[in-house]
Amino acid sequence: MRGLERSAAFWLRAYPPAWREERADEVTAVLLDLAPDGARRLDARTALNLLRGGVATRWRQTPPVHVYLAYRMFDVRVPVQYREWVRQDITGPGHLRRNLSGRLWLFVFTMYNGIAAGFPAATVLWWTAMAVALTACLLLVRPEVAVRRRLQRHVRRRARDEPRDVGGYVWVRRPRERVMAEPGARVLVVLLAVGAVAWSVAAVLAPTRLSAVSCGPACSELVAVPRDAQLLVTAPLAAAAAVGLAVAVAVARRCRRLLAAAPAQPARRLVGLAPHAGIAVALWTVVIVAAALAEVTGEWVLSLSALAGPVCLVLLPSALAVWWHARTWGGLALVDLCRVAWTGRPVTVDELDTDLVRAVALEAR
């Protein structure tokens, strides 16, 4: 009988995974009952019948093209009858790949330009840098949190007449997860420190800069010219550092005043950084240092460093102040410190988060 069951399982793969999860045992039992005694595999007619049924079931649950494209390309919510399909799409294997490939149209013109120009080295370099930066961003996000947020956006019930459950799954409340203050602030400090050092050095050492030159009446263009006055770069950097220190003093004062009165957070659960956050920080460091090096060597004209260097210098002292307070006050989340430092308003109390779980799992709890 085992051969027959294996054969049934093989042909049942024509059906959507969620359908199989719910019905496979039941349908396998029917298939075993229907098969002649001693059969080792399903006959061709039964197999074709299952194949057709599976395709029809998938087809019935899949939204029409216009709904599909609006969802895939622009993240538009689908009508209520396709919620189960969306749930599978968001939680099923390969969801990240599907989600990202749906955004590929954003890069159509860039890709067209690259292809039309025959992939020049500069374009390939840019794409590589973008890909590394994107990977670093994705690594900083916890995958299960990203899935939960997408479920909340696409599957959550918005109107009273919509059903409460989605194909055997129901919404429950759960504690809101927040990243702990200390490791989060540490990442912030490391990235800003790397940016401040690399880009400041690049701004000082870059051999060329952009300059607007006149090319006739009512016409000017940006061209790369050799660097002349060093003071034009060093003065803004020094000013940025001074402003940064002043801001940091204000931030430290805000933290002292507001963090002592931080309220209790019954609906919160503190978590560490995303599992691959270390790799993400390393990748960001590589991208920042590579961009700075390109300007130091004259590969790129002085541009990004002139802006990013001062910005990092302004923010770094405040980040250090936040980090120091994060170490002093335990039990806080990064979001609390950022809110206090950035807005000067008191810490808010988190509300409960929601999650979609199997109804069976809920009964077992």
Binding site: E26, T28, V30, L32, T46, L51, G53, G54, A56
Partner: protein
Amino acid sequence: MSEQAYLVLLALAEEPRHGYGIVQAVTAMSDDRVRLGAGTLYGILDRLVEAGYTEASGEVVVDGRLRRYYRLNPDGMAALAAETARLTDLASLARRVLAARPSSRPALGSA
């Protein structure tokens, strides 16, 4: 409603049945003419459940095989009655037309 779906509704109207029970009942009712495959049966059951005509009414495990029973609910019974009325009207219409047909009418095209 297809003939197969109609027969499945009829089978469930008699009593709640599991998947294999439905296949057997339909085969018996149609004198071995309609033999439902598992794919067809569950396609029909899915649609009937979606339309709110039938619902799962319980599960038992026999010889290690899961049997889920389905029963017809009032909506399904009403749909079955409506479909039966429609078929009856159709059949009586057909009988009237065939009865009114002159028996000695020459076939078109014959000399």
